[in-house]
């Protein structure tokens, strides 16, 4: 579904991605973790072409992302993305956030889009809040609307960039519950997160990044059974003691 082969990227002289290779198969959940600044966000943004790579190849559903001939708008509409800072559109109601792409990108009728949006708001447990504006919602609620916005495009895969890092602790589980349900329903997911409980529960594989390199890419059990690299173990011991 998603395959990243020898991807490298530079910001000026600074190499942010260094020969990264990994993949996410259909129905698979892959968690990406690693210290801050290691290139996780950049890697995930390269998957839907929000950032471009300088070397290597990224393929999504048979299309080469870093090929000029690929229509990135169509490709992006097939991959949902959830951001750390939610990025709901503040001038629209929660429901309209979920409707917009359906009408403008998928060309669905107003009625169809609205019905689908209501279903999705129910799925993320926010039916009563559909008419509210993002500023009237808590962070956890905003993030669930953002997930609904991504799901509205009927994506073949979802990308998450630290979806719970900006949330108060008591709201993290509401968002993780939605994500766990998606994973268990067979959604293909690439999730940058430090929520190791989530990883242990639903991830098939865990990728560990450091300084732009993919240092480890292992099945979840193996990753947590302390067989991996020293760097990954240090990182794990740090975040797991919290």
């Amino acid at each position: 579904m998603i395959s990243i082969s020898n991807a490298s990227k530079w910001y000026g002289d600074f190499q942010v991605l260094n020969d990264c290779t990994t993949h996410v198969s259909k129905g698979e959940v892959v968690v990406v973790c690693g210290p801050s600044g290691s290139g996780k966000s950049t890697l995930i943004k390269c998957v839907n072409g929000l950032e471009s790579i300088d070397k290597g190849k990224i393929m999504v559903d048979g299309d080469v992302v870093n090929d000029k001939k690929t229509n990135l708008n169509i490709l992006r509409s097939k991959i949902g993305m959830v951001f750390q800072s939610f990025e709901l559109f503040p001038h629209m109601s929660a429901l309209d956030n979920v409707i917009l792409g359906q009408i403008k990108v998928l060309k669905r009728s107003e009625d169809e889009a609205r019905a689908r949006a209501h279903d999705l708001m129910a799925q993320v447990g926010l039916s009563e809040h559909a008419g509210k504006y993002p500023a009237q919602l808590s962070g956890g609620q905003q993030q669930r609307v953002a997930i609904a916005r991504g799901l509205a495009m009927d994506p073949i895969a979802l990308l998450f960039d630290e979806p719970t890092s900006a949330l108060d602790p008591e709201m993290i589980n509401d968002v993780l519950d939605v994500m766990v349900n998606l994973a268990q329903d067979g959604m293909t997911m690439m999730v940058v997160t430090h929520e190791m409980g989530f990883a242990q529960k639903v991830a098939h594989r865990v990728v560990f990044m450091d300084e732009g390199c993919i240092v480890e890419d292992a099945p979840t059990d193996q990753f947590f059974q302390a067989q991996g690299s020293e760097r990954a173990q240090q990182f794990l011991s740090k975040i797991l003691t919290h």
Binding site: N73, R76, K78, G80, M81, L88, F89, G101
Partner: protein, 218 residues
């Protein structure tokens, strides 16, 4: 003081109202035209299209370096030359204001666009919106909302600046009042009245702009 005769105002209300209509019409059309052209210029500059962005920047800097009165004069002589027929002072003046104001509006709108978080563009693109769609549905609505007070303030300045059309003899509010003042030899009365009218509209406008500013801040 006993010599003042303010009946000159009341006796000429229809004529003065006609002048005021010209002033308002000119202001409104120039604001609309200036904002449309200004938005296009701002979008071209922000999109960083090789030659076009440079031209848009050159346009903005060019018009911002000229006195408005000069632009009014030029267009008054140039537009008929360009079109090969007379167009009337209203249209030449309107074109002058639109071209001139667009340079200022473009800078205001560019600042408004830059104030929208970059994550918003990423979020728009991520659901598959094209760049123009992202601008149209995500960025511009947020930018305009934050810019309304500044745009209104600019419109008030423009409302005052329309009085410069006296140089080409267009009968706006000021010129109408001046005609009557000279004809009836009531200069003081008329110009006091004109000042009050300009003041009332502009002051009410700026109070409203300040109110909007406060509302936005909360």
């Amino acid at each position: 003081m006993g010599d003042f005769d303010y009946s000159v105002i009341f006796n000429n209300i229809p004529f003065l109202v006609d002048g005021l209509k010209v002033t308002f019409l000119l202001t409104i059309l120039a604001v609309i035209g200036g904002m449309v052209l200004g938005t296009i210029l701002a979008l071209i500059r922000i999109a960083q299209i090789p030659i076009a962005s440079w031209l848009a920047a050159a346009y903005v800097n060019f018009f911002r370096s000229l006195p408005l009165i000069l632009v009014i004069f030029w267009l008054y002589f140039l537009v008929p030359l360009f079109l090969g027929r007379p167009v009337g002072s209203f249209y030449s003046v309107l074109i002058a204001f639109v071209l001139f104001e667009a340079a200022y509006y473009s800078e205001i709108i560019r600042a408004g666009i830059s104030s929208v978080r970059s994550g918003q563009i990423a979020a728009g693109r991520a659901i598959g919106l094209t760049y123009p769609q992202t601008m149209r549905y995500i960025v511009l609505p947020q930018a305009f909302r934050s810019m309304v007070p500044v745009l209104l303030t600019q419109a008030i300045v423009l409302f005052q600046d329309t009085s410069l059309v006296y140089v080409v003899g267009l009968k706006d509010f000021l010129v109408s009042a001046e005609l009557i003042a000279n004809r009836d030899q009531r200069l003081v009365e008329m110009f006091v009245f004109v000042a009050i009218v300009y003041f009332v509209f502009c002051f009410a406008g700026s109070l409203y702009a300040r109110h909007l500013q406060k509302k936005l801040a909360t």
